[in-house]
Symmetry: C2
Subunit: 239 residues, 2 copies
DNA sequence: TGCCCTTCTGGTCAGAACGACACTAAGATG
DNA sequence: CATCTTAGTGTCGTTCTGACCAGAAGGGCA
């Protein structure tokens, strides 16, 4: 760790008293069943604060921006340091800079990320907990607002991009993909219509393999690498 | 002016040498005819730099974030200070933070704005010039990239929101509204189909007045205030 | 073995949305 | 008054979408 992490933000004596500091935080979404074998739910990892502003409360993973790293790199680094997670999808969400959002002036560049089931580090690091987004505790700073906004973006973006694949493994059935959509959008989708839509979109490549369960086996699909998860316009590399 | 503006960013002695500083810039779009009576073009105001990094080059209007103001307030303030413009629509675009985007470490929170024809300050302040987005000179820092991204967002957003109204006056004909869309999207739209779409969207209120020209008078419409220009989700107030 | 249950998968059908285009309305111009 | 140009309406065929039906293909169980 090259710099103090966000949790140690009590007395920034090393920095000029009147300076604005830049922090980077990330909202990480993963789908996991509420109980074993149950339906999926949108969950995210939070970090318990051990220092003064909002000590003991849960907060988004993050840390201070190092002067020698880009914003995206800072998001990846602080994510790894606090939670051990390396996400499959990472995108800038918004810059939060209300004057009163922290006792000292902090501008937070917030990213949001998606991870696949196999990327979930269950009992990775101390002070990390996974929460159902529908049952969040009161978070530190303005982090509840931030999560709300990230959720809104996730639900929006799932409708016009292919980011749902960022929440799945390499091979999956259409039923599995459909459940991802259903979980995010919180409503049932017709299996036949869903199939038609996603097949016509050209983002899926059928394989010869099948997932055998207790009923008719379902064909496994792969994600078409030629199609970007989301159209990010002229921003090919994150800044 | 309470702080040095971005143009005076040569030697920030007052700030710790290793600190990251936060700047705020804005891409302001307005539609104006290339020549009198001609078709509209997307244009934006730029400020000529008078200090060292990229002295003499054109740059986006902006300035340093004051420690006592929110990001949106800083955007409005620096906009007014450098160009005298108070936009009708202002939204955060992206935070740019590549390490090498400036000789000293600067994170720029970039906003984008729309202004109506009557809000254009033609010969307002020295060192301000208006440029056609299709004919931009090489800009300071990474500002060309930033403009490209802002244009991409503008063209995207005009398709699924009502921000086009941010570029028009209070009352307008459907032909005028259509020309706004045509200019932004750079393609012709069928007048009949355009009318049907926009009338069914419920965002327009017909008035009793008409715009009389050299042909059949066209009905004037007002913008329905009940409908937001763009759905910004949980972010009702800019941070 | 044979029946049933569930899910997978392909198909139909009606309504909405959309693009192309023909046509009427209304004022300006000469 | 004839004509020109733009404003505004209607129509038609294609595509997209949601609701629903039906056959296919396995496992579970009597």
């Amino acid at each position: 760790m090259t710099r103090t992490s966000l949790e140690n933000a009590a007395a920034p004596e090393a920095v000029a008293e009147d300076a604005t500091r830049v922090a980077v935080s990330t909202v990480i979404f993963a789908l996991r069943p509420r109980e074993p074998e149950g339906p999926l739910a949108v969950t995210l990892p939070l970090v318990r604060r051990t220092r003064d502003p909002h000590e003991g409360q849960w907060a988004l993973p993050g840390g201070w921006l190092d002067i020698r790293e880009s914003l995206g790199a800072a998001a990846s680094r602080t994510l790894a340091e606090t939670t051990g997670i390396a996400p499959s999808y990472l995108e800038q969400l918004y810059a939060f800079g209300a004057v009163d959002r922290s006792p000292t002036r902090v501008v937070s560049i917030v990213y949001w990320a998606l991870i696949r089931p196999d990327e979930i580090v269950e009992d990775g690091i101390e002070n990390v907990g996974w929460f159902d987004v529908e049952r969040l505790p009161p978070l530190a700073f303005d982090h509840n607002e931030i999560v709300d906004y990230a959720l809104w973006r996730l639900r929006n973006k799932v409708g016009y991009s292919r980011i749902a694949h960022g929440l799945l493994g390499d091979e999956f059935t259409l039923a599995e993909l459909r459940e991802v959509y259903q979980t995010i959008l919180d409503r049932k989708l017709d299996p036949a219509n869903f199939r038609r839509q996603v097949e016509n979109s050209g983002t899926l490549i059928p394989t010869d393999r099948h997932r055998t369960g207790s009923h008719r086996p379902a064909r496994l699909y792969r994600y078409n690498q030629d199609v970007e998860l989301a159209d990010r316009g002229p921003l090919s590399t994150p800044h």
